[in-house]
Symmetry: C2
């Protein structure tokens, strides 16, 4: 996973730097969306000092390369598992524990083009998030719900 992302960087002519490796690793192991400062704290805890400016820039790059994705409803970033070819991406995000799931949803794109064609709207980016509770957190034994 991290390896394939590194390949993407190389193939596109970007350098494989230590900060980029470190952010990739953190995103890879994270079970929830991470804000830039979340990432900084996590790395800091391992004795790795990254400037927050660097993290912002790395995340920007990752998003344009489709290696990461920003969950707007929580303001955090997740690794991107699916390529652009596989249709629109939909995310489910648990508001309690942050667990997320990514889906390639072709029906979503279809519905969108239908509804927007009439207005001559040219869509470039699609955003589809569902915020709620994952199965764990919505169960009776779920914590703090």
């Amino acid at each position: 996973m991290v390896q394939s992302s590194i390949k993407v960087l190389r193939n596109r002519g970007y350098r494989v730097t230590r900060p980029r490796r470190q952010v990739l690793e953190v995103l890879e192991t994270a079970q929830r969306p991470l804000s830039p400062y979340d990432i900084q704290k996590l790395l800091w805890g391992k004795g790795k000092h990254l400037d927050h400016v660097t993290i912002y820039r790395v995340l920007d790059l990752f998003c344009t390369l489709n290696l990461a994705h920003k969950i707007l409803s929580l303001g955090g970033f997740v690794r991107c598992a699916l390529g652009k070819r596989e249709g629109c991406h939909r995310f489910t995000v648990c508001r309690n524990c942050g667990a997320f799931q990514e889906f390639a949803d072709k029906g979503l794109c279809a519905g969108e083009s239908e509804i927007t064609q009439d207005f001559g709207f040219h869509a470039e980016q699609h955003l589809a998030e569902s915020l709620g509770l994952c199965s764990e957190c919505s169960s009776p034994q779920g914590d703090s719900v």
Copy 2:
């Protein structure tokens, strides 16, 4: 439109204050999503000094009452034209001029419940935004594209 929002406030037991009226008016006439500070500047231009804290609080209330909606991809607020009963809301937003359009999309909710049921995910909020260019801005004569 502003009048109906005022009714909602009254019916729910909230006071109809000057700040709330003013924010409603601004949102009503705006042709693009407005951030809290956008709203402050617009009102300030008319000689009306609202504290930004008040604007944040008013917008919070409006969102919970479904009178306004936050466009996450731009960080701005728009008036909400459709009620919760009419299904999921989808927005198209022009990244150039900010023009937006709101749709009630029942297919969206349907697709969501399908795709999430298998995972036991309980969705509470839905986010569906399409970012791109409106018909004006994507036309050859469109400005700055």
